[in-house]
């Protein structure tokens, strides 16, 4: 089971790519844990998650081929 991650904003400096694949995560809490293990500096940054183009605020089940976007806030104007 694999999911695609899209990386936005300053997160791409920490994760060093705009897209990656993660395998073997069953829900978004799991995904966050896995990402924090792979990229420890992520723990300092708040970001919202969108699963298949819908923002989620609670733990959400993930299915094969889901696309998850990591969206940090930015405030520039």
């Amino acid at each position: 089971m694999k999911i695609k991650i899209l990386v936005f904003g300053q997160l791409s400096e920490i994760i060093n790519t705009l897209e990656l694949e993660i395998i073997e995560v069953v829900n978004t809490d799991d995904l966050n844990k896995k990402l924090n293990e792979l990229y420890p500096n992520l723990k300092n940054i708040k970001y919202s998650l969108a699963v298949n183009k819908k923002i989620i605020q609670e733990n959400t089940i993930l299915n094969n081929d889901d696309i998850v976007a990591l969206l940090p806030p930015f405030s520039g104007g």
């Binding site: 936005f8 300092n44 923002i55 520039g76």
Partner: protein, 374 residues
């Protein structure tokens, strides 16, 4: 305002079958407030004025500086040092003398937000910091005004519409449904620190004007409950939907009284767990005792400060120069709006955990506001 004049000026949009005279009249009768006459505000204002929005309000307390000119395209070199809101207003009046333009050269706060926003039908967020964005959002929710959101950083921008009811789903969302809490200020990058490509706010600001036009006229599809994220380097657009987050209602002001009592600066800076000092306490402290005041802005960054003594250590140079900061007195670090100074205090504490140091909440902008300098 004669009909013939209007038709000549707006002819090319009126003849669009989706648009027509009725849409034009809706624009001419509408009132839009643009908060921030900066990178996002300038293009939004230009297109709204050109399109014939009948009343445009502009609020910005800042003055034009040279580093604005690559992206804040209403302003020219001769405008450096002038108030942004009134300068923008005079440029817009040249573009379209038939509309009404109201300029406000003061800072939007929770004390004046209600009175100001009440006069407009729709608000465009062209601001550059989280505290103000949450403030505008909450005011729009309480006052029930649609809010066109836009934000940029480096090469990426976002645009969306908050607080507009989707007639089909009967759902409306707002900024707190997207980002319930502000980020740790250390990770909140401003364009001053991170940079931004000049064209980017031009694109996002114009998209904000587009949304405003669609909301007012009712044509097409708006970004109601949606955000578009654009990456100028990669040519990618990504859109996503927002749904209401029910527990977010507890954390933000529900009525005018709560709103007046809510401290937005504190709300955003408290995430950093760094000692801060309010403007009031700072004024008392510097009269009561000898303190060291440090400006961490770039050299010659406006506004210039003459009212008290301070030394400049720009944030970028600070790590190398921390050993040279005098430590006999308490220290207050300040910057423009209170963000960079938080980072400065954090850096300082790493070297001097025993010395009392504070970051000035709201920065020199808030200080000037308090002392009625603007």
């Amino acid at each position: 305002m004669s009909f013939t004049q209007n038709n000549d000026r707006y002819h090319r949009q009126i003849i669009l079958k989706e648009f027509g005279e009725i849409a034009q009249q809706k624009l001419l009768h509408s009132k839009v407030l643009v908060i921030g006459a900066g990178g996002l505000g300038c293009p939004a204002l230009q297109y709204l004025a050109a399109a014939g929005i009948g009343t445009i309000g502009i609020i910005d307390f800042d003055v034009v500086s040279i580093s604005n000119l690559h992206r804040q395209i209403l302003f020219s070199t001769n405008d450096i040092g002038k108030q942004k809101a009134t300068t923008a207003a005079s440029k817009l009046a040249e573009i379209n003398p038939e509309i009404q333009i109201q300029a406000f050269n003061f800072q939007l706060t929770n004390k004046n937000a209600f009175e100001l926003l009440a006069n407009y039908d729709l608000v465009i967020d062209g601001t550059d910091n989280f505290a103000t964005r949450y403030l505008i959002n909450d005011a729009c929710v309480i006052l029930n005004k649609p809010l066109v959101y836009g934000a940029v950083l480096r090469f990426e921008g976002q645009v969306g519409v908050f607080n507009l009811l989707d007639n089909e789903t009967q759902i409306k969302t707002n900024y707190r449904d997207l980002f319930p809490e502000p980020p740790n200020p250390f990770n909140a990058l401003t364009c001053n620190e991170a940079g931004v490509i000049g064209v980017l706010p031009g694109i996002i600001g114009t998209m904000q004007a587009t949304e405003a036009i669609k909301i007012i006229t009712g044509i097409g599809k708006t970004l109601c409950n949606k955000i578009i994220s654009y990456n100028a380097l990669q040519n990618t657009f990504y859109d996503f939907e927002i749904t209401p987050v029910f527990n977010s209602i507890e954390t933000f002001p529900q009525n005018e009284m709560d709103f007046l009592n809510f401290n937005y600066e504190w709300f955003c800076s408290s995430k950093a767990n760094i000692p801060t000092i309010s403007i009031v306490d700072f004024e008392e402290l510097r009269i009561k005792e000898k303190i060291t005041i440090i400006d961490v802005r770039e050299m010659n960054e406006l506004p210039l400060v003459n009212e008290f003594d301070f030394t400049t250590f720009t944030l970028n140079d600070l790590p190398n120069l921390i050993a040279t900061i005098p430590t006999e007195n308490k220290i207050v670090f300040f910057c423009k709006s209170g963000n960079r100074s938080l980072k400065a205090v954090k850096l300082f504490y790493e070297k001097h955990p025993q010395i009392t140091a504070y970051s000035l909440i709201g920065g020199i902008d808030a200080w000037q506001q308090f002392n009625n300098k603007t």
